[in-house]
Symmetry: C2
Subunit: 154 residues, 2 copies
């Protein structure tokens, strides 16, 4: 199977993300290792917080979004990693029992001057819960190889 | 023990982060769940990539940084969650065997208009490896409660 290359990421192309069901066990497991604040570990502490229930760490939501990207298109892409996150807004709490889905939309793409044969693709990412409420919104860029032989004309 | 409150986060105050040793097992475990791209799962694939070795997912580095923040000051703070990430740059690969450390520096702080009794503290975060090379740089804000009774004068 031919992998997606830089040339396949045209502006406005959309890739669906999810669905991903979020369990209390997953929220507590991630938080125990990476973000052991009470509202991410305990239902009662979550309800007492401004998050309103046992809520995923924003970093957990971000990690789940990464997995959704992998499953949607990234594992089928000649991807070379990402230089970072332009921004990520955690708009609403992700609570135990929620189901997440969304989309990655190509904003722009250009060949890199510093790395011949590699292009940089900038995405906007939107994640919603089962009620259609936007819970996570972000933008970042990913490095993707041009098709073999494409360097000369890039 | 009295927790840190909004008033304790004065601009320029620094909190040390780490050290955190990063093992190959941790890199593969995180990647298997959240970012199963070959360079995060396999030493040889990592060496063949532009990352140069078995490298942590940027989201894994970010999650480890979150844990370093918790251990340094956040679990001892009356914190109410974070609205997101202003930006995060993964400047250099984090490879198996690296040891990470760094600092969070308060950039600014102000009471929130929309949430009486809560202030927003903006941080700059810097993470370095054992050679003193900057591997991760970011900024984000955290919501922190004012001391009880402080609302009236905020």
């Amino acid at each position: 199977m031919t992998k997606l290359a830089y040339e396949d990421f045209k502006p406005e192309r959309e890739f669906p993300l999810g669905p991903k069901h979020v369990t209390a066990e997953e929220i507590v497991a991630f938080a125990s290792e990476f973000d052991p604040q009470p509202m991410h570990l305990d239902e009662e502490a979550g309800r007492a917080s401004i998050l309103g229930g046992l809520a995923a760490s924003g970093w957990h939501t971000s990690a789940m979004f990464m997995r959704m990207m992998c499953d949607s298109y990234l594992l089928n892409t000649d991807a070379q990693g990402a230089p970072g996150i332009d921004f990520m807004d955690w708009k609403k709490p992700v609570l135990a029992g929620d189901t997440l889905s969304g989309r990655s939309i190509v904003l722009e793409a250009r060949p890199m001057r510093s790395r011949p044969g590699i292009g940089i693709v900038k995405f906007r990412h939107e994640i919603e819960n089962q009620r259609g409420e936007l819970v996570c919104l972000g933008e970042n860029a990913t490095m993707v190889r041009l098709r073999a032989g494409a360097e000369a004309t890039a």
